[in-house]
Symmetry: C2
Subunit: 332 residues, 2 copies
């Protein structure tokens, strides 16, 4: 096979079959989908089906703590988990740019296969297209994940005044890790992406009757999620600055570069809204998990207008706005 | 809103919500998915689930007989139909290039919404990413379709010697229409894409016990599909040149440009393999449908090596190869 992707590898003929066999089927091994069919019969899910889709266009394609392949798996499966679903199936649509290195593609696909296997989720359908040089960013993955509803009733409209907001770990690491890896800033650091599955964190809270809503703070970060909740439930949110876990290094880099960590993406954290009396229990459950060691209660749902307010350490208040005209693309 | 796509419209903040509300939600109207959730609970499919995924990178984005939006719906739903499934749900992942015209996007999304509604299929989840100028081809759509198995047992391994191959209509129109629309050839013509649903054609054959396999000849065309069948079932295929429906204009353009119509993509045709004694019945059923008016029996499965042979009008024979190094990208 060639060392770089060619247009002929997208033509539906022999070169495409070779690419799929030698890169994709090889990476998935026994778990590879049947490449002879255009649609996969996956059987009866045995419960209410939950579907989600996400495009992944991160740049660079490999960064400390993750890569496009791992991000595509976690980003998709995490959307199911926070919706209260157990993931079952994945589909993968790949758009490759002519000239892209096959060796890098192999690494990204191997990473995807490894994370899917670790999550016990099956890739059931795939598609590969090749676009001419200058019409792509190397590789884009679009993933759809299908699961079965395990914890119904989670909606951003459910939170009520008095409910507590929890976060499962430090914010902003993914966004900072990807931006530093881009080398536009001439800086480097030890910050690694938090890219990881959140299903365990979600499952830990599903038994709590007072669990109202969970969401992973990806694009738009905590600012985005809190605005979504406030808008949907019709109440305000007060966050306590001191209580929000952010790693020192992430905080320093954000200050140097002028970013607000509250708007930066995470890819392995969960924001949960829990009834006041069950919040301590939820916190304990999270802190008992390795991925929830740094979990914290960070705020409260309050009656009144749908605004998000941050209480600062000196007793001040700052209105938290969601991202506006900031171009912070391709962190996912 | 701006007239062209900006990077901020992919940042997960206010600009992105505006884009989604004003372009996507507007186009789908009452059928728009709930944009407040990251995953859609679609309920129990009530039967074996069938999943398929496809990326659409066609260039130009609008061409005689179709556009990216219509192609994305038909291409995905047709993969379910030929697999024996009734389509139910769609997801749509959009990758937009910075600077892409919002007005063109509106047209493509409106087309997607119109065709999905006509097919009685619901868009349940979506995602939008924006990549920097020079990293995309304007717009790429990746669609996953989910359906319920209605006609089990269709596999490319099923055909047996003596079975007949049928095609539902003229070949190659989509490929030719898209290539002419690209204006690289300084030619124009009246050829329109055959881009259309094939569910009706598939349903018409499902009751036949002798139906072995159906497939839509998209990338790779009839040559690709026949090779897949021959390889999977372990038998040969003989096609009769005279019997293969190809429009005169498509044939002339193929001859002028040096393309083989048997390798060109269709987006609204079906190839079916049917037991010999049921082939005439299958043909009648197709010809009774407007989309199957020009259907024909075009070949036979034969014992022996897995090769595909074309019998020419003068009694000669030509081995049909699948596409090899030909770069024929972006016709879908």
């Amino acid at each position: 096979m060639t060392e770089r992707v060619t247009l002929a590898q997208g033509n539906g003929g022999r070169r495409m079959r070779e690419l799929i066999a030698q890169v994709f089927v090889t990476a998935f091994g026994a778990a590879a989908p049947d490449t002879r069919v255009d649609a996969a019969i996956v059987g009866d899910p045995g419960g209410p089906l939950v579907l989600t889709t996400d495009g992944f266009t991160v740049q660079p394609l490999e960064f400390p703590g993750g890569d496009l392949g791992a991000l595509a798996v976690h980003g998709s499966l995490n959307d199911l988990a926070v919706a209260g679903a157990e993931p079952r199936y994945l589909t993968l649509g790949v758009i490759l740019e002519e000239g892209f290195e096959i060796e890098v593609l192999r690494r990204l696909v191997a990473s995807f296969a490894r994370e899917a296997a670790a999550a016990n989720v099956r890739l059931v359908a795939g598609d590969t297209k090749v676009v001419p040089r200058g019409h792509g960013g190397g590789a884009y993955f679009t993933v759809t994940a299908a699961g079965v509803l395990a914890r119904p009733g989670l909606t951003p409209a459910a939170p009520r005044p008095g409910d507590r907001l929890l976060v499962s770990g430090p914010l902003g690491d993914h966004g900072v890790a990807v931006m530093l890896a881009r080398e536009d800033f001439g800086m480097s650091g030890d910050v690694r992406s938090d890219c990881a599955p959140v299903l365990g964190l979600c499952r830990a809270l599903w038994p709590l009757p007072g669990l109202r809503f969970t969401r992973d703070p990806t694009r738009g970060g905590l600012a985005g999620v809190t605005h979504e909740i406030a808008t949907a439930c019709g109440h305000g949110i007060r966050l306590v600055d001191d209580s929000i876990p952010i790693r020192d290094q992430t905080r320093v880099i954000c200050e140097m570069l002028g970013f607000d960590a509250l708007t930066l993406a995470c890819e392995g954290r969960v924001i949960a809204v829990v009834a006041c009396d069950e919040a301590p229990r939820a916190l304990r459950r999270w802190r008992n998990l390795p991925s929830g060691r740094d979990a914290a209660i960070i705020g409260t749902i309050v009656a009144g207008a749908s605004t998000v307010v941050l209480e600062t350490p000196l007793g001040g208040e700052r209105i938290i706005e969601e991202l506006d005209d900031d171009p912070l693309p391709r962190i996912c």
